[in-house]
């Protein structure tokens, strides 16, 4: 197989993933989802903060 086109200088996985894959364990998956929810709330809070900056403009 030719070198992967999305990673420079490194070859693609040599075999189909099923051959060398580890299952996404439910624990791993829920940890990733929990981290995602946390970051998601922070990003949402940033959005709200930028929006509310408008209150500082004199009207």
């Amino acid at each position: 197989m030719k070198p992967g086109n999305f990673q420079i200088g490194e070859p693609m996985p040599p075999a189909p993933p099923s051959a060398n894959a580890a299952a996404f364990s439910p624990a791993d998956l829920s940890a990733r989802r929990a981290a995602s929810r946390r970051l998601g709330w922070w990003l949402g809070a940033a959005v709200l903060a930028i929006y509310l900056l408008g209150l500082l403009i004199p009207r």
Binding site: N5, F6, P13, P16, P17, A21, S36, L39, I50, Y51
Partner: protein
């Protein structure tokens, strides 16, 4: 070519998914949601297209033939809002939903329910945008927003009910995009398969990552600006009302602080997609991966500090003019790096020209025209002549139609076999390509000359000397519009059936997404791929 595909076990598939309408209303599957985004986008593309064909029909000849100026203005504004917020942005989000999990080795997006919400906010917003047209037919209100998509005060403070509908719609569209962006950011950060470091991330994901951060930084500003507009209209504030001590130019600052990054929001997903297509059909690795990543980041950063180039003529102080002129021109440097990488990727490749590749190559040329005419507009002295002329209209259609919509078409042809498991008709694809490219240029090239000759934008009538170029443009627009029916037909047929494709689809395709079967299993990566 290696065609190994992974038909993965799908134990959850055992039939407890609701069918019919409930499947689509309640789905949290990234592929279903991606399909809904893309379908919605295609429908709204035709809605926005029909509106503007009516506009072009009116402009076919000088004089007023078909409609009143008020209605003409409403069509232009809603056309733009629909194309930007309901056609181009949802198409990019549809791509992200479909492809990001496949590309990074994730079973789904990180926050699937948020994903469902994000989509289902769109149809009500689209209805809100277009409803005032219908209401006016029954004598309620005076039609849709007539300020153009830019909502400039004081016109938007004085305008009718359509402005309120548009303000509400923009809020909802903004919330939807914020939800989508949050989901994309956390998915890219947290759901990558082991070994997929940030510097191995597919460029499509990088393009979307920067897009998502731009949306998060700028959409709240747009929302703030239109909320302030709403309070000016109904709750006695005077943010933008000079008579009450407010400042109409403040609105332009706030709007374009969002509006200019919005251009890159529309284009970065396409710039992320292009290297994949160019590499596949050149059968070579992408040239300059890191250079492209750094260019994306540089463009993202620069895009939020150049906004005032949209109102050079509004009377800014001279030092500000200089600053915004040079910072705008600076964006062409990282952009030139991207152009160089695209061309270098093709250099000495074993190229073949399937429909996606045709679109990708022509994208480089036409988007190049958009970039070069943008440089002309960025020149403060020159812009005094070109501002608010048809030159601007031509420029941003080379950017948004050729750079945006034709980029989306590239992606659709490239990925459609992956999504459906069928090959589309190359013959129809090529026909669609040639008709689109020729009629696009017939529509918009004359507008450059109209603008240079002094024809202002947003007018339903014009001086006699502009007649020939306008007639050409209208003929082009109708061919362009009709050609898109071929596109829709080709997609429809491909969804329904057609020659089967294997997982890799394209001989030169590389990347995790091509390791899965076509169409991929219900849960994309049940087992986690390991990137060596």
């Amino acid at each position: 070519m290696n065609t190994a595909t992974t038909t993965q076990p799908t134990p959850h598939d055992a039939g407890h998914y609701p069918g019919g309408l409930m499947r689509w209303l309640t789905t949290t599957n990234h592929k279903d949601i991606g399909t809904m985004y893309l379908t919605f986008s295609l429908i709204m593309f035709f809605v926005g297209g029909l509106m503007i064909l009516a506009v072009r029909a009116e402009l076919f000849q000088p004089g007023l033939q078909l409609m009143q100026p008020e209605f003409f203005n409403q069509l232009i504004g809603v056309h733009a809002l629909v194309m930007i917020f309901a056609a181009l942005m949802p198409a990019a989000t549809g791509f992200a939903n479909w492809m990001l999990p496949l590309m990074i080795g994730a079973p789904d997006m990180a926050l699937p329910r948020l994903n469902n919400w994000g989509f289902w906010l769109l149809p009500p917003a689209a209805i809100l945008l277009t409803l005032p047209f219908t209401l006016a037919l029954f004598g309620i209100g005076d039609g849709a927003i007539a300020t153009g998509w830019t909502f400039y005060a004081p016109l938007s403070v004085q305008g009718g009910m359509g402005v309120d509908f548009a303000i509400l719609a923009v809020h909802i569209l903004g919330i939807s995009s914020i939800m989508g962006s949050i989901n994309i950011i956390v998915t890219i950060f947290n759901m990558r398969a082991p070994g997929m470091t940030m510097m191995k991330l597919p460029l499509f994901a990088w393009g979307w990552l920067i897009t998502a951060f731009l949306l998060i930084a700028t959409l709240p500003v747009l929302a703030g600006a239109v909320t302030m507009l709403l309070t000016d209209r109904h709750f006695g504030t005077h943010f933008f009302d000079a008579a009450g001590g407010g400042d109409p130019i403040l609105f332009q600052h706030l709007f374009w602080f969002f509006g200019h990054p919005e251009v890159y929001i529309l284009l970065l997903p396409v710039w992320g997609l292009m290297p994949h297509v160019l590499a596949t059909f050149s059968r070579k690795p992408t040239y300059g991966y890191k250079a492209q990543v750094y260019s994306f980041i540089a463009i993202g950063l620069l895009s939020v500090v150049v906004w005032a180039h949209h109102f050079f003529t509004a009377g800014l102080p001279v030092p500000a003019l200089f600053y915004f002129m040079f910072s705008t021109m600076a964006i062409s440097l990282p952009l030139a790096v991207l152009f160089f990488c695209w061309i270098a990727t093709m250099w000495k490749g074993a190229m073949s020209f399937e429909t996606p590749m045709l679109f990708a190559v022509v994208f480089i040329v036409l988007f190049g025209i958009a970039g070069l005419t943008g440089l002309i507009l960025a020149d403060v002295a020159a812009d005094a002549q070109y501002h608010h002329s048809y030159f601007v209209v031509a420029h941003f259609h080379y950017a948004l139609f050729a750079g945006g919509i034709m980029g989306v078409m590239t992606g659709v042809y490239y990925w459609l076999p992956k999504w459906t498991g069928h090959m589309y008709s190359e013959k129809l694809g090529k026909l669609h390509f040639w008709l689109t490219v020729i009629s696009f240029n017939l529509t918009f090239m004359p507008q450059f000359f109209l603008g240079l000759a002094g024809m202002p934008r947003r007018i339903p009538d014009y001086a006699l000397q502009f007649a020939e170029f306008n007639a050409m443009s209208t003929v082009g627009a109708f061919i362009l519009g009709l050609s898109q029916l071929i596109f829709a037909w080709n997609i429809w047929c491909c969804v329904r059936g057609g020659p089967k494709v294997d997982g890799r689809v394209w001989e030169g395709a590389e990347g995790l997404e091509w390791e899965l079967s076509s169409p991929p299993p219900h849960h994309s990566w049940e087992t986690q791929p390991v990137i060596k």
